[in-house]
Symmetry: C2
Subunit: 393 residues, 2 copies
């Protein structure tokens, strides 16, 4: 009986697989509503209470149109007016990238707003979540999100960061504020956290309810490569990442000069998601004189390994002296979604084991029923920022 149940469970899980891309129309509940991240006045895509996505597009001369979401392509059907429509299987709560496929061409859905992720500007959809109130746009005082263009000597290029300043920043013109440096993940950019990440709204709501200290958040681009010394420089040299140097020697001094920050380690935090968690952990451990709070959302610096960590060699032995780290670090915070794929659970598990063996204090949070996606990271940010800049050594 137990084995029978396991088989049914597996079938349910697998029904998300390529072989089951056709949705049974009789099982669809007709309570679809336009996605909250649609373009103005656009009725499609829609989401229903089963968390299915329904897409629609006029393509009168197409042979095959598919909705491509969560790694699965769902065939859509054409009506007599040449308008195609189709539904996905139930999706996880939260934000997902997706696209349409028209006779073999992968294109953005003209109905949705566009987001940078998966290495392209493209469509996104929001599946309402039970806890969405914490990142909802509410009638509370709103901070500003400012686009800040700067020239980086290290990369010999123009770069950009977005800077969140809390609502009171422009009124209390003498107050100085702590700063969180917050990084995106792989194939994403500096726009992610204040768009699909809702970082500004999460902070607006937490600050309004006095659950978070008013703070500045700086969101830069984690891709930064050293400018080649000469034109004959080979491609490998061009790809040497200098993000750590850009952040430490260019971005932080610029932010401290341009904004009313508290320019000391006790008032600086650094965090990131996935690739950004990996990057910022290295930066944190190399610059404990610069930061005192760390947040790693769905990522650790041992990624992608799940092996036991050799603390004497890992990050040049930076985790060897747990006692010293416990004195220096005000908060070491890790988060993970319960549905994250390989290798994240085991890799982060191996990292936690190392922390525990070194008796390094840390906090750990699991986001229920979310994978390696933005609802995990919104929840992580929400948990993490509420703990920042409240303690003193």
């Amino acid at each position: 009986m137990k084995q029978y149940l396991i088989v049914i469970l597996w079938m349910l899980i697998l029904s998300g697989g390529e072989g089951f891309a056709q949705t049974n129309p009789t099982s669809i509940i007709e309570d679809f509503k336009p996605s909250s991240v649609n373009q103005p006045q656009k009725l499609f895509p829609k989401v229903n209470s089963q968390r299915r996505v329904r897409a629609s597009i006029a393509a009168p001369d197409a042979k095959k149109v598919q909705l491509d979401i969560g790694g699965i392509k769902y065939d859509m059907k054409k009506d007599e007016n040449g308008v195609w429509m189709g539904e996905s299987n139930p999706q996880d709560e939260g934000f997902h990238y997706y696209q349409l496929n028209i006779d073999g061409a992968s294109v953005p859905d003209p109905g949705s707003l566009y987001f940078y992720g998966a290495g392209r500007w493209g469509s996104g959809i929001e599946i309402p979540s039970g806890d969405q109130d914490f990142f909802a746009l509410k009638n509370v005082p709103h901070g500003l999100v400012s686009e800040n263009i700067y020239f980086s000597k290290l990369t010999n290029s123009f770069r950009r960061c977005f800077v969140y300043t809390p609502n009171e920043y422009n009124e209390n013109t003498k107050t100085r504020y702590p700063v969180l440096y917050l990084q995106h993940g792989s194939l994403e950019d500096e726009t992610g956290w204040s768009s699909q990440g809702k970082a500004n709204l999460i902070l607006d709501n937490l600050i309004a309810s006095k659950q978070a200290v008013p703070m500045i958040i700086v969101m830069d681009n984690g891709y930064a490569y050293k400018a080649p010394n000469n034109e004959a420089a080979d491609n490998n040299k061009q790809q040497e990442s200098v993000f750590e140097d850009v952040l430490i020697t260019e971005v932080i001094p610029m932010i401290d000069a341009k904004f009313r920050t508290i320019p000391k380690r006790e008032s600086r935090a650094i965090a990131g998601l996935s690739m950004g968690a990996n990057q910022t952990m290295r930066i944190m451990m190399n610059h404990l004189d610069t930061f005192s709070y760390y947040g790693g959302f769905s990522g650790t610096a041992n990624y992608p390994s799940s092996e036991v960590i050799d603390v004497s060699s890992f990050l040049d032995g930076k985790f060897k002296d747990g006692t010293a780290l416990n004195k220096q670090i005000k908060l070491f915070w890790l988060g993970l979604g319960t549905k994250e794929p390989v290798p994240f659970p085991k890799s982060i598990g191996a990292f936690r084991k190392m922390l525990e063996q070194q008796r390094i204090k840390y906090e750990y949070y699991e986001s229920p029923e979310t994978a390696h996606e933005w609802l995990t990271w919104r929840r992580c940010l929400h948990q993490f920022v509420a703990k920042l800049f409240k303690s003193t050594i």
Copy 2:
């Protein structure tokens, strides 16, 4: 001979028409470069020295793919790998919205960045212009462009404006600055001026070369409708524009409270493009106690009429007393592209005639070889802002 030349000229002009959508490959110069507003790492679309656009997309199963730009659909051709490619006729210099058409589906090009215009988020392309230096991203001090979310009681909705603050704003923390309120056109929104409009870069460059006074620019959304009193309110009532009230009673007080402005008429300008020129002229004339500079780019309040203006009734007689207006208004500035379509040249011409008859002082600028598009408006802004806040009554 003269008639023969005219026929040839007409044929050249008409070759931009639907009937000539096929480009002669032998006439294409092969010096295409990726558009400056492509997505990171995307090679297509490209532009050549003839100002032709070449688009490309993989669509192996499609029957027909077209590049849709400037109101013309150009057939693309498929290669053996299922990749389509095609070129447009030469385009005007500057920024243009465009899209691809795949078996009847109009979709954004996955290669371009996306812009809000023509009532949708979609593809845009930049044709290099001879004078592009004035809006180029240069190594000069850059101001911030801040997203400012606010709740409007008049519309009972969340609204958003973008606020440009000059680079020195964050350093000279006691200085107060004049403000330009700058509006977009029909089917565009509050994102246009600081994206395809390049307003921030135009100001950064002008301020760096001391050709413009450092100023704040506020870019709001010109669509604002009164919240219905009850749910049974009919659709007509819902569509009553209250943008003037939103700007005067909600936006300006908010900006004056949140930013270090000089909150008086001598230090306030208002300008707009097309629909925004029409809107802001009405607002200017209704609120001469609030603004003293006006800029109308490709639009006037008599739009779309080209009839002689009856000054006693036009805008409730606001232009009747030219002598008084000349004392009150520091600058009344109008601009137009030389290639603008009906009804703009004649409508603005009729408006200028009225100004002249009333002996109302104004300045007039024509953007060479541009139509009702963003290069006209970038040039207008560049001309206009250099004249602001320099005189005193």
